[in-house]
């Protein structure tokens, strides 16, 4: 009886050799399925061998079954790797054909730029909001009261020479300075007040490389029961260092504004020569960046605060001026032409 067992085992070994040889020779993916059907299908050659299992002695049957299963596993595994071999060969061939010219430019959807003046404005807001200043705004069309009178500039005051005004009608002007927002803020609120007011202002100037009838300022106001000039100095020094770099120094010079007393003009280390002296700073090493001072007590009176209760500081600076310094823009008109060749440099 052992001959039946032996014959079956031989037949399985024979199939293994035969099938394996065929699998190794396959060249296309359909052949994989054909071979699978031929050897491993329900009517395949391995199943055919097992049909004779009835002739085998009961104790030998598991052995044959095991051999057959091993053969199935072996062939299946070989078919799979054959399949993978074919697939990778095909993909490799495709990849080889897919090489591209990577020097052509990327597909770029257009990217816009924030306006450089607005970028400077945003930066200023960030710096001051970092030390507790909130943002307020006032109207650009102002009353004579808020723009001049409450700021200590009556009609015949020589300081009105410093700023030629654009009138909408009698007593209504395009504001000449964001300082008008100081008045509106104080009329609306009681101290403590700690705000900045960015915005557009207007002067009756002809347009040239350094003058524009419309430009922008940022005003600051801090009022409380005991605000000092030393705090003004500290605040502006903090601002200058944040804006122009940590090595920036500032200096205060006495000046005059009708609505502050004492009044100062503030210079910072020339950003071009780092203070060594150059053409831009006229060899002084300093560049004027803003005007400031302690709020004049008559402003408190005008807005109805109790006499002597509060002190405060205020400052104002031109955004165009700082943007021109920061970006090296030499003609103020560029800011209002909206030439894409200009704007896209600030992306």
């Amino acid at each position: 009886m052992s001959t039946v067992v032996d014959r079956l085992l031989d037949r399985l070994a024979e199939l293994k050799t035969e099938a394996n040889a065929k699998i190794q020779e396959i060249t296309s993916e359909p052949q994989v399925q054909d071979l699978r059907t031929m050897y491993l299908g329900k009517k395949g050659k391995v199943s055919e061998v097992l049909k004779s299992l009835g002739d085998v002695d009961g104790k030998d049957r598991p052995k044959i079954g095991q051999e057959a299963n091993e053969l199935r596993d072996f062939l299946e595994s070989e078919l799979r790797s054959g399949q993978t071999r074919l697939e990778t060969a095909r993909i490799e061939a495709e990849i080889a054909k897919e090489s591209i010219d990577i020097t052509l430019s990327g597909m770029r959807a257009p990217l816009g730029a924030l306006h450089p003046l607005m970028q400077v404005r945003d930066r200023m807001i960030d710096i001051f909001s970092g030390i507790g200043f909130s943002v307020v705004e006032g109207p650009e069309i102002e009353t004579d009261f808020c723009n001049f009178e409450a700021l200590n500039v009556p009609a015949d005051h020589p300081a009105r020479d410093m700023q030629d005004t654009l009138y909408v009608r009698e007593n209504i002007v395009l504001r000449t300075q964001t300082s008008s927002v100081q008045i509106r803020t104080m009329l609306a609120e009681k101290p403590p007040i700690k705000v900045i007011a960015p915005g557009a202002v207007y002067r009756n100037d002809d347009v040239d490389a350094t003058h524009s009838p419309m430009f922008h300022q940022v005003e600051g106001l801090y009022v409380d029961e005991s605000v000092s000039l030393e705090e003004l100095k500290g605040t502006l020094e903090y601002f200058a260092k944040e804006m122009f770099g940590p090595k920036t120094k500032i200096r205060l010079r006495n000046s005059y504004f009708p609505f502050t007393e004492p009044s100062v003009e503030v210079d910072c280390t020339c950003i071009f020569c780092k203070g060594r002296g150059c053409r831009i700073c006229k060899q002084s090493g300093w560049i004027e960046i803003l005007g400031a001072g302690m709020v004049h007590p008559s402003l408190f009176e005008k807005v109805g605060y109790p006499e002597g209760k509060y002190t405060g500081f205020a400052f104002g600076m031109g955004i165009e001026r700082i943007a021109m310094l920061l970006y090296g823009v030499d003609d103020i008109r560029l800011f209002y032409e909206n030439d894409i060749r200009f704007l896209e440099q600030f992306r």
Binding site: R108, G112, T143, P158, R184, L187, S226, S228, T235, L252
Partner: protein, 847 residues
């Protein structure tokens, strides 16, 4: 204002070694800003007067000579003789010449070094006028041959009289007291802690042969008027000391009498006028009346301008009948009474005129004279008589003559009796405002040097008496400014304010939302534009009016009416091109597109966030202090045209169209807080569409009846008129409205637990039925189970009946309660179909 250093030194003993730069720095810190320093002797340092002792031929060069030149003791205690090689032909033994010694950098930029010229040492250079940048009639070719009287070794700048330094000061309008040499010297005395010296005029008076009387009809506006009569002056050129002073401060010397009045004005700050007295005399008497001008009064100025005065001008009249209009007070004298070479008798005027009236006159006739400038800033009442006397003293000195008594108006004496004004300031106040205070002794010294009376009260502080010339000092803060400007701002420590933060303002919140929008727009390719607020009708119309008229599509008047509605107009415009304020942002962006198109940039994307300006009527509770009868409305506009992708080498480019624009506007809206009832409306009447937009491709954004903005194609005529080759699309949004909602809050919602079911439909309806009609009908019929409706195709063409449109859309259904059963889905599907069939006679594909 120009201030001469050598002139200043007549009034203040500055420390010996102090440099011009140091003086300028101190003045600048203290508020008298030095804008420029002009060193007249620039480049003449180390250039001296030399004497040629010997001249012989250079052994190795035909055209050169060897010289020995003495520079005296200019370079040390011993006389120094220099060997100098020279190429000029005009020198000879015995001449005096300018010698640039080693180390000099002469005005033409050449640095003088020890050198060898063809084996011969040269220890300096003999200079030509050209090399020294001096205009000299004979001086182009050879060496500058000097006066033989010149002393050997004298610095050359001194020889030329160019040894002065001139500061150009910018004086703030509050500091009228500093508009003179003595005024500046006073600040320097305080800054350098040294003594101020003011000369006292010395005069020998005589009985005036001519009786002078003064009447001020307007003592309120001319409280004091002083004169002196001088007989027998000799008008002529000024002596060189006077001419040098006048020229140093940038003026031209006229004659000795006029130059002295200028000199005194720049010495003390009091404007002085001199009349030819003979033109004022009647019967050996001079009668001066100060009065209001008469309407139309004729006046010929010294500068030969014919004016017609008015009653606001103050006039100095002479004669019994006031028939001689001698001067526009405080501004300029008349041609008729001007001092000329023929003048022999003069009248000196030193007076006070009302600042506001002088200012008005000066502005009215645009005569911004040095005198008017000082009257506007107010003069020192205590110096009127002094200035009058000082002028007389100096005129006699330079032009001879005999001086009569000083005469003034009747009110002068009482008017000038100034009430001394005192201010009490405590140390606590000083420390509170500045953060720290100097020692009391320092305060006394600094403020005392300025001429203030200072009385120290110990702990209490000080009582300061304000001097007559400081009309800008009224309150404690003014005194504190004086203290800190003299003490120095560098003494202050930088301190950051206490870190208190108030609740953020509404604007701070809005600012944050606007930044989100601005970032989105730049990411979509839009650049932020900024346009002038000013505009004009022509610019706003964008050239549309002619086209629209020609096409008769809209009446010109309609546009005009629209534009006239609520524009804010400028009363004092910047010319006709800037007489209105913008009430719409988009036209500005179209003009930007035109500019860029002219540079062949046709792919355009711009946005702008700015207020528009509108006239409004008075509100009920308006506060006159803040009411402007205008409204400012923050808006967003954006404009796009051209290709969707700019850097594209892969063939066909898509162009931006209406739905791109609408999509951007929808996304922008989504970034603001939740709004309800907002919809896009296609208006029935063309008048409801903004005049510069395409009538068939524009949607208005509405909430109820309130217009909030629009989106659409810019009118094709606009592009045609403005040479823009692409179709432009624009959008506009009311940001005041958009920002009025509570800031958008993100809140997580769990995903549905049960799967959604999608069903596609294809419905053909009449063309008048919009996608919105279908969407809304489906929404109201399905309600609870509806998750979404997406349109994915729109077809018009041969495959469907004419006048019809076919929409393909996908309906997404779902429930939170469980997976939808087939039956439920079928019911909904059937409901959608039957509703659309009933309402719109819709034909469904496949049914």
């Amino acid at each position: 204002m120009k201030i001469s250093l050598s002139w200043l030194k007549e009034y203040v003993d500055l420390p010996q070694n102090v440099t011009a730069d140091k003086i300028a720095e101190k003045l600048t810190y203290a508020g008298l800003e030095v804008e420029a320093i002009e060193d007249q002797g620039m480049g003449l340092d180390k250039v001296f007067v030399g004497a040629v002792l010997e001249k012989r031929q250079h052994p190795n060069a035909d055209r050169l000579s060897l010289t020995k030149v003495s520079v005296g003791k200019a370079l040390g205690d011993e006389e120094k003789i220099l060997h100098i090689v020279c190429g000029a032909q005009n020198i000879a033994k015995g001449q005096k010449v300018p010698v640039a010694t080693i180390g000099a950098v002469i005005p033409d930029g050449l640095e003088i070094k020890l050198s060898k010229i063809r084996d011969e040492t040269s220890e300096g250079m003999l200079c030509s006028p050209t090399e020294l940048k001096i205009n000299h009639p004979e001086g182009e070719k050879g060496i500058y041959i000097l006066d033989n009287s010149a002393e050997t070794g004298t610095p050359f700048a001194e020889y030329l009289g160019k040894n002065d330094v001139v500061f150009d000061l910018s004086i703030t309008p509050d500091r009228g007291d500093a508009l003179s040499h003595i005024g500046v010297a006073r600040d320097l005395a305080a800054l350098f802690d040294c003594k101020l010296k003011i000369p006292e005029p010395r005069l020998s008076e005589m009985e005036s042969p001519c009786e002078v009387s003064i009447t001020s009809e307007i003592p309120k506006h001319c409280p004091a008027y002083f004169v002196r009569y001088i007989e027998g002056v000799k008008v002529g050129p000024s002596p060189s000391w006077l001419r040098k002073r006048i020229e140093a401060i940038g003026l031209r010397s006229t004659n000795n009498v006029v130059d002295i009045s200028t000199y005194v004005m720049f010495e003390i700050g009091q404007p002085i006028h001199t009349f030819d007295a003979n033109t004022l005399v009647e019967d050996n008497r001079i009668k001066i009346t100060i009065r209001d001008g008469k309407e139309g009064e004729e006046f010929l100025t010294i500068s030969h301008r014919e004016l017609n005065l008015n009653s606001n001008d103050i006039v100095i009249a002479a004669g019994e009948k006031e028939q001689i209009t001698a001067a526009m007070a405080g501004v300029m004298g008349s041609n008729q009474t001007e001092v000329s070479d023929a003048t022999s008798n003069i009248l000196i005027e030193s007076a006070i005129f009302d600042a506001a009236r002088v200012r008005a006159t000066s502005r009215n006739y645009t005569m911004l004279t040095d005198a008017a400038y000082r009257f506007e800033r107010k003069v020192d009442p205590a110096r009127l008589a002094w200035a009058c006397d000082r002028t007389a003293e100096l005129i006699v000195k330079v032009a001879g003559g005999k001086v009569g008594h000083r005469v003034e108006n009747a009110e002068a004496k009482t008017a000038l009796e100034v009430n001394t004004h005192t201010i009490t300031v405590s140390l606590r106040e000083i420390t509170r405002l500045l953060g720290k205070a100097p020692e009391p002794a320092t305060i006394t010294k600094l403020i005392g040097r300025l001429g203030f009376g200072v009385k120290a009260l110990g702990e209490e502080g000080f009582v300061f008496t304000v001097p007559t010339w400081r009309n800008d000092v009224h309150v404690a803060e003014d005194i504190i400014e004086e203290i800190i400007r003299l003490w120095g701002f560098d003494k202050l420590t930088s301190k950051l304010p206490e870190a208190f933060v108030k609740n953020e303002t509404a604007v701070t919140v809005q600012e944050r939302q606007l930044r989100t929008i601005r970032k989105l727009l730049t990411a979509w390719g839009f650049s932020e534009a900024l346009n002038f607020t000013f505009t004009n009708m022509e610019a706003e119309l964008l050239g549309l009016n002619n086209w629209l008229k020609a096409s008769k599509s809209i009446d010109d008047e309609v546009i005009q009416k629209e534009l006239d509605k609520d524009f804010v107009r400028l009363e004092s415009p910047l010319g006709e091109s800037f007489n209105l304020l913008r009430r719409d942002l988009l036209p500005g962006l179209v003009r930007n597109a035109r500019l860029n198109a002219s540079h062949r940039m046709h792919d355009i994307r711009f946005f702008e966030i700015r207020p528009t300006f509108h006239s409004v009527g008075p509100t009920k509770k308006s506060d006159p202090r803040t009411e402007t009868l205008t409204k400012e409305n923050l808006r967003l506009a954006f404009l796009a045209g051209g290709a969707t992708i700019h850097e594209d080498w892969q063939g066909e480019k898509d162009s931006i169209h209406f739905y791109d624009m609408k999509g951007w506007l929808e996304l922008v809206l989504g970034a603001f807080g939740k709004q309800s009832g907002v919809r896009f409306v296609k208006p029935d009447k063309v008048e409801e569409i903004p005049y510069h937009m395409h009538p068939g491709q524009t949607a208005l954004l509405m909430q109820g009846n309130r217009p909030l903005g629009y989106v659409g194609q810019v009118h094709p005529y606009v592009c045609k008129q403005n040479d823009i080759r692409v179709n432009l699309y624009g959008a506009d949004l009311d940001l005041n409205w958009a920002l009025s909602f509570e800031e958008r809050k993100h809140r997580f919602k769990t995903f549905g637990k049960f799967p959604n079911v999608e069903r596609d439909f294809s419905a053909t309806v009449a063309e008048s039925i919009s996608a919105d009609n279908l969407r809304n009908t489906i929404k109201s019929s399905v309600k609870d189970l509806l998750r979404d409706i997406k349109f994915f195709d729109v077809y018009r063409g041969e495959r469907i009946p004419k006048g019809h449109v076919s929409y393909a859309f996908r309906v997404v259904l779902g429930s939170d309660k469980g997976t939808l059963a087939d039956k439920e889905v079928q019911d909904v599907q059937q409901k959608i179909i039957s509703t659309l069939q009933d309402k719109y006679q819709a034909q469904f594909a496949g049914l």
